[in-house]
């Protein structure tokens, strides 16, 4: 009887540990998709399907005219736009930072944020090759561009744009010698050119506004 109890306890403990490990490994799932996208896991590529579970280290690529909606385990939502590529990392728990490595293209992040979390620490980060956007807010977009001159910095051919729709995002460039972070508030954006620090926060989406067009 005692042996059976012990075996049962070990089994339950094993199951609990296994579920914990599984829960930590699973970072989210695909909740929407349009067009063709691929998932690369442990060197193997497969087409992305709806409800597919995602794990840390998964690399997602979207084709032209395609986009993916990803819901993280904590309810946060990511949209990977067309011709983009990202690697998911970390585990989205309420007390640990999770991150997305954006290697190419555009990513919009709608992050679940709780006031109980420390306001000084980010719960979600988007990394690009030359920028880190640490979130202390909810809704922002990151775009990484390569092979085109950065507006305002014509000699720089790779740059990151971070635009904030809600909340606050702290942006820094880890490759910059003077990596002073810039705090970007709602309705504003910053640009991170090459190895330079982020530009000062400026109104978001000025490209959509021209003259008043009374003619």
């Amino acid at each position: 009887m005692r042996k059976n109890c012990l075996s049962g306890s070990v089994l339950i403990l094993t199951l609990l540990l296994a579920s914990q490990v599984f829960a930590q490994d699973r970072v989210g799932s695909i909740t929407g998709l349009e067009g063709e996208s691929t998932l690369e896991r442990a060197g193997r590529q497969s087409p992305v399907a709806l409800a597919m579970e995602l794990k840390g280290g998964d690399r997602l690529r979207t084709g032209s005219h395609s986009h993916l909606n990803i819901t993280l385990a904590d309810g946060s939502q990511l949209t990977l736009f067309e011709d983009s590529s990202m690697v998911l990392g970390g585990v989205p728990s309420t007390h640990r930072a999770s991150l997305a490595n954006l290697l190419k293209g555009r990513l919009r992040s709608l992050i679940q944020w709780s006031p109980s979390l420390s306001s000084s620490s980010s719960v979600f980060e988007v990394h690009t090759p030359n920028a880190i956007a640490g979130v202390r807010g909810t809704d922002f977009e990151t775009a990484y561009t390569e092979g085109r001159p950065c507006p305002g910095f014509p000699d720089c051919l790779r740059y990151t744009d971070v635009g904030v729709f809600k909340g606050v995002v702290e942006v820094s460039n880890p490759t910059s010698k003077t990596a002073a972070p810039v705090t970007v508030t709602e309705g504003h954006e910053t640009k991170v050119p090459c190895e330079l620090p982020p530009t000062a926060s400026a109104p978001l989406g000025l490209g959509e506004i021209g003259g008043p067009s009374y003619h």
Binding site: S64, H65, E82, D83, D139, R148, P149, P151, G152, V164, F165, K166, E186, G187, H188, K191, T199, A200, S201, A202, P203, L204, G205, L206, G207, E208, I209, G210, G211, P212, S213, Y214, H215
Partner: protein, 249 residues
Amino acid sequence: MRKPGASKPALLAIAFLAIACLCWISSSYAGTDFFDLANPQQLSLTLFASGFGSEKYGTTHGGLQLEQTLTRYLAVAASISAYQLYQGTGFDSPLAPASRSATRNFGRFEGGVNFTPIEGTSLAVLGGHDVGDSDAPVIDSQFSSWLIPHSLHPLNISFTLAHYYNNGVTSGTVDLRTVLLSTGSFILLGGAGSAIWGGGSARNAKAQAGPDLGIFVRDLHLRINLQGGYGSSRTYGLVSFSRTFTWDE
């Protein structure tokens, strides 16, 4: 009333502007992706409407503009609009003054190019023909640029230049605006604008100026602009609306 002689300075100015732009483009973009096709291509539709009211005359107009990208820097544009002039004449009218106060209507068909050399700067040159109570060619251009864009209060400067062959009038506007407030849902702009017109049936140069107020609603891609002031038409007010829809191809 056509006064071909009166249009020569305007035509020369526009031709000079076009040649200067082409020289600048070819030297600035040699060896870059200027001639590479845009990927993805984009089609955009802008619906617009505006109204002008003053002590001397009033107009309304509305229409649509289709724009198709060719390269990242260059797009072709086509525009159809309908104008209604309630009485008199003014900075935005190709009609000669009428002795009677009757509403006059005309349509405008234009085509041209929109050049975006850098993010936030654009130059559009369109030409076409009016039909209806105005029945003659028209040419107009619009330039807009954001100065000190990496700041909390960037400055937008915009010019328009138009020439109406129907009455020989050449008209220009200048607006200078800054961002007063930017939130996640809208941008509020404030500044001042002016118009100057003359030649043809307008004869002497006339002008008007006043403060500008603009709002851009992000989710709807809707722009609303207001201007009020004083000038040759005495007290006046202007309002314009435009909304853009964009499709990646």
